[in-house]
Subunit: 213 residues, 2 copies
DNA sequence: GTCTATAGGCTGATAGAC
DNA sequence: GTCTATCAGCCTATAGAC
């Protein structure tokens, strides 16, 4: 809610809105716990209702439908991803920063499998909705992307990027590889037989050697 | 069914078995069409029954449950993937062969989204079952993996592989990147903003530069 | 605002008739 | 072997009482 909307309301309406927001957050919190514990398929209105001590029907007062709750959950996921990038983002050297961001991405995905799955592997409709709805702005999704792009821009400016690449293309290649590592490990933990750590090291080194000159 | 089993049966039993196999194939064929058209979630016993002109209950005479059908569908997917690799596998130069296999993999995934999704993005339980159940043998899954591994072995033998890599690790890095490209495009077609072709070119070139020395 | 009740679906799987 | 009927559940979403 914008500041403009707030000042236009009376104090009572304002308090009501605050309570409403709190309730919405409670719903999303419960939804997160359900998804983390039992996956996206287990996210039903009944289970959310149970978790917050209300009937399923009440939830429709706060969210239009189940997809809207999943969308809110995804947005929270992007905020967490940006937070996971924060320590890496302070590193001065762009190549070290890029590598640290990459490692943070993979750690995020492997330690929050169900959140990651919801954000990037589950429902194209909802993922598209959240990414498009928040594109262009200073959204968490764009800030996460920027954390990968920005070190590559700096490397490009220093003439370190392979010369057939532009920073956005290099960022997409990087993202693809990181996503591939996380998502393949989430769906078939056994098969890429290389252990997680060695695979991450080899992937980061391959990207560093392959993207730079 | 093994040859040994066949010769131990009478001619009548043999014919019965052949009919049974034919029926099983019909079921899997119908299942494939449903998954291709409407996705894995639409794969229900009732819909399969409708498609083959039998009741849902009859299917349980041929498959233990729905997961067994999904597993059979995945195995067919691996066979198709190996077939998709066939033209590339004849190329003599190992680097050209590796690149052609990579392109064939991405084409397979992007042109059969629902099959690919079922094989690598959907249900860890079934994917694990099929990959483990067919590991070690001359299964389609292993042959698909071999198509990526083998050119890398040849490059390794010629001393062309980056020297901190072994062929299996390099194969896993390659697979991860290809899978990342396909799976990200399937879940959010819009966001990695680089067009498919340019992204594939950039990824293959990055892998070639990054894995080799 | 919250509830119960319910419409109107869907699912996998099985029992028992034929 | 195939069927119908059914069990035992699940779901989203809404109407209408309070």
């Amino acid at each position: 809610m914008s500041r403009g909307t707030l000042v236009a309301m009376g104090a009572a309406a304002e308090r009501r809105e605050r309570l409403r927001d709190e309730f919405r957050r409670e719903i999303v919190g419960a939804a997160r716990r359900i998804v983390v514990e039992d996956g996206y398929a287990a996210l039903t209105m009944r289970r959310i209702g149970e978790a917050i001590g209300y009937s399923a029907a009440s939830i429709y007062q706060y969210f239009a439908n189940r997809d809207a709750i999943a969308g809110a959950l995804m947005e929270e996921g992007f905020v967490e991803l940006v937070e996971a990038f924060a320590p890496a983002a302070t590193i001065a050297d762009p190549l070290s920063r890029l590598k640290a961001v990459g490692r943070a991405y993979v750690r995020f995905g492997l330690t929050r499998p169900e959140t990651y799955r919801l954000m990037f592997m589950e429902d194209p409709k909802i993922t598209a909705g959240v990414l498009e709805g928040s594109a262009g702005e200073n959204s968490a999704g764009m800030r996460a992307y920027a954390a990968i792009l920005e070190p590559l821009v700096q490397l490009f400016e220093r003439g370190r990027l392979r010369d057939d690449l532009t920073p956005p293309v290099a960022a997409d290649v990087m993202w693809i590889s990181l996503h591939g590592l996380v998502s393949l490990k989430l769906t078939c933990p056994k098969f890429p037989a290389t252990p997680d750590d060695a695979l991450l090291d080899a992937t980061m080194e391959t990207l560093a050697c392959g993207l730079l000159q």
